[in-house]
Amino acid sequence: MPTVRKRQQTGAAVVFVGPFVVAYLVLFVYPTLKMVVLSFTNAPLIGEGKWVGWSNYLRLAHDNLFLQSVGHTIYFVVLTVIPTTLLGLVIAMMVLRLRGLLQSLVLAAFFLPYILPVTVVYRIWEWMIDPQFGIAQLPIRLLLGHSVAMWSDPLWAMPSIAFITIWWTNGFNVLLFIAGLKNISQDVHDAASLDGAHRWARFRYITWPLIWPVTALVLTIQLILQLKIFDQVYLMTVGGPFNSTYVVVQYIYKQAFQSNHGGYGATVAVVLFVAIAALSVLQFQALRVRPS
């Protein structure tokens, strides 16, 4: 009796999906809608505000620090996304050449930073690049003749945060590329032995096209991830020097939590949300084209 069974299924389904759906509605859907509503008000962080229409959004267009933080976020994305993707591919290929224990050890060395909390990464690098006592200043002094206070120098601040971020998160990309390369390695081997291809040519004309779907996946994941940057900047430079590393999420934090402008903070959040949602569609496409 299909209808009885169907009804039973619906009953069971309610129990199975109920808790998730409730949590999803309360903790994701409602906050998202509430954020949109708030963005049209001048509410403080906690409490009611007046409806102000589009004026928060119009204000964004002339808000210097907001525009700067958008620029810095994009700059950070440029500094991280493509380098970390390429580096991940190179390291994955280097690791795959090795065998046995050596391979596990080398992989662990490249991967371990990824599982660390951001505050630990901050502490480690704060000490590494300390302008007076940091060990990383030795090679810098050799190269430039003087030490560089990375996080106090507008020229170096964002690149150094990007560098540290790559060090921290690159293990993730390495893993994805290793999985991808393992999938195609047999094809590469067969094709290469057929025509005796030179190493570079083999990479350029066989490996690269075959690994491209994984590359596209890594690129989009990184793009979305790095747009959300806050933790490292907040810990390492607090947005300085001269606001040169101020980023979008930090601006949300500043408006909502430090200046008590919940409505305007929500407006910035909506902009970020929409940008990431749009890029998620991109990522979804990337996922779909990957060979299974």
Partner: protein
């Protein structure tokens, strides 16, 4: 037997969770402070001594990060009716805190109930604790900046007097000559170190404000920031500091801990920093890890008048919206504040000058070293202007971070740094 162990286990689990095992008899108060390092150690000792004396009060203390993070937390929590029953607060920030509605005033009766009166405090401190005629905080100390010096290196350069104190430091030219003599570029030794890098410009502000005040300059008056010839004086103060870095007498972009480490490792002959670093030196010297004799004196008079920046740690009660402090907790908080003030001789060992006069005027304090060497600075101490743009974690500190500190490090010229500071702060006043 089994039951006993069960109880012990339960009690220790509760204790671990900070719930306390004999909660019914005790008044619990929630305490927030920003005191780390030597300050933190001493305050923790004071709290536990207090609890031994007052078994009916239990203090749940949390230490949060000094500066902007602490004051951001306090402000957001108070706005939503949360937060501590009592907290430490900088008097310099009081007007800003009151303007955001974060603080609850004390009444005279409340103070009287625990035996504290106006006469127990220095007039300057007492005044700084008031906004619009209301007392918003009970002062604990006066703290300032001092010049730490390495006696061995100063002696070698012929700059140490017979009394063990530096000689010939007064006046900017003399001080600069001394810095030059103390610098040994060949071995990378500096004459001076100060915190002029990460994480903020707080130390730059303190020294800048000292040098501005030594010229008789005022940072703001009648709602005008750096008005008239004060602009020139401010530029002069900043230029003096920038010159030390430019000449190579002092390293640039030095983070807070490394500015101290330069001094304690003998790589910088002198160091300007808060009195709160006294315990660092005392402890290192005690363990024989310093490798030299050290001393501390008030910042030398480099311009016309002796003057030093100063601030106060104080106790305040947050104005929690819709969740006012309960009477029994208020009583416990007042008891705590009074007790700690009366025992603040132990706080003085963190380098501070107690605000509570009966302690400061006691023989125990008058002979306390090294405080006695610099306690005279209290007479010429200048507090931050009483305004909503100055004080710890205020717009003035932001300006010090964004404009003054870069100027000290040669990344910006002093004139435009001062002008931008003025414009930014004038703007923030609107």
């Amino acid at each position: 037997m089994k039951g006993l162990w069960k109880n012990v286990a339960a009690a220790s689990a509760l204790a671990l969770l900070g719930l306390g095992s004999a909660a019914e008899a005790k008044t619990q108060i929630v305490w927030w402070d920003f005191l780390a390092g030597g300050d933190g150690v001493r305050m923790k000792a004071l709290i536990s001594a207090f609890q031994k004396d007052n078994p009916d009060i239990e203090i749940n203390a949390t230490t949060l990060e000094w500066g902007v993070p602490f004051y951001t937390k306090v402000q957001t929590s108070a706005a939503i009716g949360q937060g501590p029953d009592v907290m430490t607060y900088h008097l310099s920030r009081l007007p800003l805190g009151v303007s955001t509605g974060t603080l609850r005033p004390f009444t005279d009766d409340e103070l009287k109930s625990v035996g504290l009166t106006k006469d127990d405090y220095f007039a300057s401190d007492w005044d700084a604790a008031h906004v619009d005629g209301k007392l918003y905080a009970v002062p604990l100390d006066i703290h300032s900046i001092v010049l730490y010096y390495n006696k061995d290196l100063l002696k070698k350069a012929g700059l140490l007097g017979d009394d063990g104190k530096p000689k010939g430091f007064d006046g900017l030219d003399n001080f600069n000559a001394a810095l030059k003599a103390l610098t040994d570029a060949g071995s990378g030794h500096y004459a001076l170190s100060m915190h002029n890098g990460q994480p903020d410009g707080s130390s730059v502000w303190r020294i800048f404000y000292t040098l501005l005040s030594q010229q008789g300059g005022t940072f703001m008056k009648d709602g005008k920031v750096l008005d008239g010839d004060n602009l020139g004086k401010a530029e002069k103060a900043l230029n003096a500091m920038a010159n030390w870095a430019a000449q190579g007498w002092m390293p640039k972009n030095t983070t807070y801990p490394s500015s101290i480490a330069l001094f304690t490792s003998g790589k910088a002959a002198m160091h300007i920093n808060g009195v709160w670093e006294v315990p660092t030196m005392v402890d290192l010297a005690k363990q024989n890890k310093l490798g030299f004799e050290w001393g501390a004196i008030p910042v030398p008079t480099l311009f016309e008048h002796p003057a030093t920046w100063a601030d106060s740690h104080a106790f305040a009660i947050p104005n929690r919206k819709g969740n006012d402090i309960a009477p029994d907790k208020l009583k416990a908080v007042l008891t705590t504040i009074a007790w700690i003030n009366k025992h603040s001789i132990d706080w003085a060992s963190a380098g501070h000058i107690p605000a509570y006069k009966p302690v400061t005027e006691s023989p125990a304090f008058e002979t306390l070293k090294p405080n006695a060497d610099y306690s005279a600075l209290a007479k010429t101490a200048v507090f931050d202007p009483k305004s909503t743009i100055t004080g710890v974690a205020s717009p003035a500190y932001d300006a010090a971070t964004n404009f003054m500190e870069p100027a000290v490090n040669g990344q910006m010229d002093a004139k435009s740094a001062i002008e931008q500071t003025r414009d930014e702060l004038q703007n923030a006043l609107q």
